[in-house]
Symmetry: C2
Subunit: 405 residues, 2 copies
């Protein structure tokens, strides 16, 4: 499952990532609280200024995270982001590749006793240093490892999509509730500063009444690369571009409106004969009708060039985010009164660190996460309806609640 990183290259990439992140955030809070045993690439950097994204000062001991799955996203985005955290800290690793686990444990100063494989995973219950398991595995394994994490008495942070069926999501919610532990879904865009500003601007009425949302996400699927190989397999991915990146279009429509769609229409296309799309769909065009009358027209594709954008049209102007959901470098522009769109400068913040610190804070203070399992379940239900609409060639109505978050 996990990506076999070539060590030298992986190490270089890691140091570059860490350096960039550490520089951006001053890398002070993380460094100052680190114990002698914790080695990270950033520790040699001078502490120049306090971290920019600290809202409330962290109190008490940090919340210990074990990262489950050491693929590209985990190693290139999540592990380095701990350097920018003020409440969360990396204490454990779970991987099926012992060499990689050992190397990464050394890089990040993770104690050998906190490194698990998928067989020994359940013994994590006996490890008091680990408060949270962060599940970063292929989609079809999210339910199993989240539930096993909950049964081991741990809080769970699980990557999107929450699981490959709504039924699985319901099981995950039950497991965490039974264990009396938190369950949060890794919706990083809901912790990303440009997206948060967009939500705020819409709520403040800066573009008037929202009318139409256009959201498009695309990238070329390359199954020859380890990080994409499982994405072409239905048994592991559960679906194609919709579940992987279309979910960002869907999320944007939901968090911008603050509403749940009443009905979905959809159409899929996969290039005939392209082996990448033998099991999963290439492109999905879907539209969502919201209770307020907002229409969202969305796409996702594994077949075309990079696209991560959305635009919110209101009756007094529009907001444009392009890119909207990149790991770094998102750009927010606003147009009002028919004038050309102008850049809105938003202070930089590490969305991954913010996400992990949020869960840590919820655990420390007993709050419910802003993106709980129920939020993940809603998306999976809507995606099931989108697939049904495309398959059955008809609009599909959605039941359930009409407001969220």
């Amino acid at each position: 499952m996990s990506e076999p990183l070539e060590p030298a290259r992986g190490r270089r990439a890691f140091f570059q990532q860490t350096l960039a992140l550490a520089t951006a955030f001053g890398a002070t809070a993380a460094c100052s609280r680190r114990t002698a045993g914790e080695k990270v690439g950033a520790e040699a950097l001078p502490a120049t200024e306090p971290p920019k994204q600290t809202v409330a000062a962290a109190s008490g001991p940090r919340v210990g995270f074990a990262v489950v799955g050491l693929g590209k996203f985990a190693t290139e985005q999540i592990l380095p982001a701990f350097a920018a955290c003020t409440r969360a800290k990396l204490v454990g690793l779970v991987s099926g590749t012992p060499d990689k686990a050992k190397r990464i444990a050394e890089q990040y100063g993770v104690e050998a006793k906190n490194v698990y494989d998928y067989k020994s995973f359940d013994r994590i219950r006996d490890n008091a240093a680990i408060d949270v398991v962060y599940v970063i595995l292929p989609n079809s394994l999210h339910a199993e490892y989240s539930e096993r994490g909950a049964r081991a008495g741990k809080h769970v942070l699980c990557e999107k999509p929450m699981a490959i069926t709504a039924k699985e999501c319901e099981g995950m919610i039950r497991a965490s509730k039974t264990a009396g532990k938190k369950l949060m879904i890794g919706y990083r865009a809901q912790f990303e500063p440009n997206n948060l500003r967009a939500i705020e601007l819409v709520k403040r009425g800066e573009i008037g009444k929202v009318k139409t949302i256009i959201a498009d996400h695309g990238r070329i699927l390359r199954p020859e690369e380890p990080s994409d190989s499982w994405r072409a397999k239905r048994a592991l991915a559960g679906g194609g571009s919709l579940m992987d990146i279309g979910i960002y279009s869907l999320q944007a429509a939901r968090y911008i409106t603050g509403e749940e769609p009443l009905e979905v229409s959809a159409r899929t296309f996969s290039t005939p004969g392209d082996p990448r799309f033998a099991e999963i769909e290439e492109t999905v065009a879907f539209s969502l009708a919201f209770p307020s009358g907002v229409l969202a027209n969305c796409t996702s594709s594994y077949g075309h060039a990079e696209g991560k954008r959305y635009r919110v049209f209101g009756d007094k102007g529009y907001l444009d985010l392009d890119p909207a959901t990149a790991y770094e470098g998102n750009v927010l522009r606003a147009s009002k009164g028919g004038k050309p769109a102008e850049l809105i400068e938003v202070p930089h913040g590490n969305q991954f660190a913010a996400e992990m610190d949020h869960l840590a804070e919820c655990i420390q203070s007993g709050k419910e996460p802003k993106t709980p399992g129920e939020e993940g379940l809603r998306d999976v239900r809507i995606m099931e309806a989108i697939y049904a609409a495309a398959r059955e060639h008809r609009p599909v109505r959605l039941g359930g609640d009409t407001q969220h978050g």
Copy 2:
């Protein structure tokens, strides 16, 4: 029908427009061929350089156009554009408002004997100076005045949408064929340099295989303004945002792919209680499935702020036009190989003048226009299918040919 322009303001607007256009194009060919009787606002400008958009030198006498309907679009865009023409010239006017017709005739040096009203319109058959009638009336009058023009032995240029039903379009095509005269639809974007470059780049494979097209057109409908009052009335407009501006999204999807859609899905929304949308639809979200597998996700809205854009995602990059279909100032950008989009500088050209000169050239050389009545009919048929899909809540398949242009 025609917009009652306040004279002083109209005149000022006209001179500003003419000045801008004449400056952009050198205003030489038009001026040099003008007779003593033809006064235009641009004639005092120095002839500095040849007009940039002349492709083949015009030969023989110019083709005489009579503009039918003197609303805002005619007076602010079309009449000034004759100054940039090399083959077409303005010789006649048709208006229901005698004062306005007289004033504009004086401004443009149109002889009094070439000014008609809607009662005397048919007598245009006896006027040899008029070769073409350019119908710029509310949509529901396009069929009547185009057919009367053809029966009067004139070539017809008709604004989009061609008519409000496919049946009307068929009648227009028959009338022009019977008369042995040309019928062309005013699809200005197919004569606009940025759009032409986009079509060329796609054909050359610059962005690889086209996968997805996103096209959005919006503007706030203001029925309190004379140029919009008829647009809120179904009997005059035939429909709402789709027929007026959604047609640009539809056109873009068709001229970029060079294909005809096989199937459409659609959803409409009109704000309940908003009197502007008592008779016509506010917003339409529609998707088109093309034979090659391209999916186009399009919107049009009368309820939100200015939007005139499309993006073409290919498997090697994307083209972005934003704005794509403005009267002036369209911007084309291209992204290749995952790099940020870069501006593609396209030499400026007056799309209205190019459109009118194209018809003039077709008349002079006996060619068929690139946007004939059949092209207008295709769009009207597709728009009828879009309305049916929204009304009947199901995808609608389209028959007919699968390639165009």
